[in-house]
């Protein structure tokens, strides 16, 4: 690998011009390093610039100051090399395409990429093989989100950026999706940057939790989660888990 760190953020800031003079500072002086294969959750109140941070890493936005390096290079280059997979809160599947065809979409857009995965295999992988001929509106929200995940994996990117992917799901589906994602992460060993509102979700999933404050969006602290893996639902009742939750809640309240 070219760089020892997968993602490097150096005094990264993003300012949106709102009116003359009154700019909105979405992110201020963000420093963060994420190593290869690490699962990092970003948690914070609404409007703290979490999504902006993700979009900067994915090369969808340009920083106002500071810099982003993905594998030691500009995010645009990573984007061009299809090294980033994006999953949003809205699965954003194309409703006129079947599940299979939605996963295939990326292949139709970039025909000559070398390293690709078979959509059927990916659907098998996320447990949706029997539904490949269905249309998105025939699926539940959780299933749609799994299709979106499969779609993001088509180019086998080493980095997954997930923007509150389970935010629109009901609590029961949401809980099962966490472990589904952990299974997939453990099988693929990808680096994951995962934005969430849920403290339990962050602790269950992540190696480290980045806590952010809002307006301007700054990093309030980084909490390493030393719970053993593979993590299970039973852990959520344990004392250690509760301690992490209390600590994160405290940090968010400040």
């Amino acid at each position: 690998m070219a760089d020892s760190q997968h993602i490097t953020l150096e005094s990264l800031s993003k300012v949106y011009p709102v009116n003359q003079g009154r700019d909105l500072v979405a992110l201020r002086d963000i420093d963060l390093k994420v190593s290869w294969g690490e699962f990092v959750a970003i948690i914070g109140p609404s409007g703290c610039g979490k999504s902006t941070l993700l979009r900067l890493v994915g090369g969808l936005l340009k920083p106002s100051a500071g810099r982003v390096l993905v594998n030691g290079r500009e995010p645009e280059q990573a984007q061009r090399g299809k090294e980033v997979g994006f999953v949003f809160q809205d699965p954003a599947l194309l409703p006129w395409r079947t599940v299979y065809s939605n996963v295939r979409l990326a292949l139709e857009v970039n025909r000559n990429h070398r390293q690709t995965r078979d959509p059927n295999e990916l659907l098998e992988f996320v447990g949706l093989a029997p539904f490949s001929g269905y249309y998105p509106h025939q699926l539940s929200g959780g299933m749609q989100q799994r299709v979106a995940l499969a779609r993001a994996l088509v180019f086998d990117p080493p980095l997954l950026l997930m923007d509150e992917p389970f935010g629109a799901l009901d609590e029961i589906t949401r809980a099962s999706m966490r472990y589904e994602l952990l299974r997939i992460w453990q099988a693929t060993k990808k680096t994951v940057l995962f934005v969430t509102h849920s403290i339990a979700e962050a602790i269950t999933l992540a190696d480290r939790v980045v806590v952010m404050s809002s307006r301007p969006g700054e990093i309030r602290g980084v909490v390493p989660v030393d719970l053993p893996r593979p993590r299970t639902e039973a852990m959520e009742g344990e004392h250690e888990f509760q301690e992490y939750a209390a600590r994160l809640r405290e940090m968010l309240r400040e």
Binding site: R55, L60, A92, L105, A106, V109, F131
Partner: protein, 280 residues
């Protein structure tokens, strides 16, 4: 794992589905088609009885039976003239629609183009087409051209506005996904923007189609030697009210058929869209 959708036990499920679909179409005919047909029939009967009972002269209001007789006398005449008008309207709709869609694509891509073209489009919209019809007759003569041009002009604006809106109303996260895999603007257009705009385009076509028919008829008043518009114009001048009613009936029937064709096409193409799914 979610429930909600289990794998169907193939044969049985398909049979059951077919039965349900049949029951549904029977119910639809009973519920949607029957009431308006009954009301329309009562209205026509009332009209017939009223004109005969009060001895209304046919040049004022022709009874339905007389209109029907007129249609039966010369079916080929009415069909022939109707086809002329239909041809003008559809040709105009296709021309106006194609130009509108091309303009919409340009406008959706560039604000400068939009700012340039939109005032011109508004100008076309607010100018009463009826007012420029005689002028077009002078320019294009008495052939097909002026009538097609008027049908095209009148159907242009709704398609333009709706297509621009449609091309812009794409899911922002779907756009972001395509950007994240570095899709070219052309691919984004083909794979996402164009299909997303289709519901809007169909809505516009449903508005523009009857407009095109109106345009063709009005154009025929000024500059035609054929078509239902001319039949209406001539029979009006001669107080031949049964013929006038017969021509109007044919026009209405054409409108209904066109609307039906459009709705069925829309259902087939937009099977995935909320508007179609909810009406099932």
């Amino acid at each position: 794992m979610e429930t909600g959708l289990a794998e169907p036990a193939e044969g049985q499920a398909i049979d059951a589905r077919r039965q349900r679909r049949l029951a549904r179409s029977v119910r639809r005919i009973a519920g949607d088609v029957l009431p308006p047909v009954i009301v329309l029939t009562i209205g026509i009967l009332f009209w017939e009885v009223w004109t005969r009972w009060r001895d209304i002269p046919p040049y004022l209001v022709a009874p339905p039976s007389m209109v029907l007789d007129r249609l039966r006398d010369e079916p080929s005449f009415f069909v022939g003239e109707g086809l002329v008008t239909l041809y003008e309207a559809l040709f105009g709709l296709v021309c106006g629609g194609s130009i509108a869609i091309l303009a919409a694509v340009a406008m959706a891509h560039s604000r400068l183009v939009e700012r340039t073209l939109f005032p011109i489009a508004i100008l076309i919209k607010v100018t009463p087409i009826v007012a420029i019809a005689p002028l077009l007759a002078i320019w294009f003569g008495f052939g097909l051209a002026p009538r097609v041009v008027i049908a095209a002009l009148i159907s242009f604006f709704p398609i333009l506005v709706n297509t621009v809106t449609g091309l812009r109303s794409t899911n922002p996260d779907a756009l972001a996904f395509l950007a994240s895999i570095h899709a070219s603007p052309f691919k984004v257009f083909i794979k996402l923007r164009m299909p997303s705009s289709l519901p809007y385009v169909f809505a516009a076509l449903k508005v523009s189609m009857p407009l095109a028919l109106i345009g063709a008829v009005v154009a025929e008043w000024f500059s035609a030697d054929e078509g239902l518009g001319l039949v209406i114009f001539a029979s009006n001048a001669q107080l031949d009210t049964p013929t006038l009613f017969a021509a109007v009936t044919v026009l209405a029937a054409m409108g209904v058929v066109l609307n039906l064709v459009m709705s069925l096409t829309e259902r087939a193409v937009l099977f995935w869209h909320e508007s179609v799914r909810e009406s099932r």
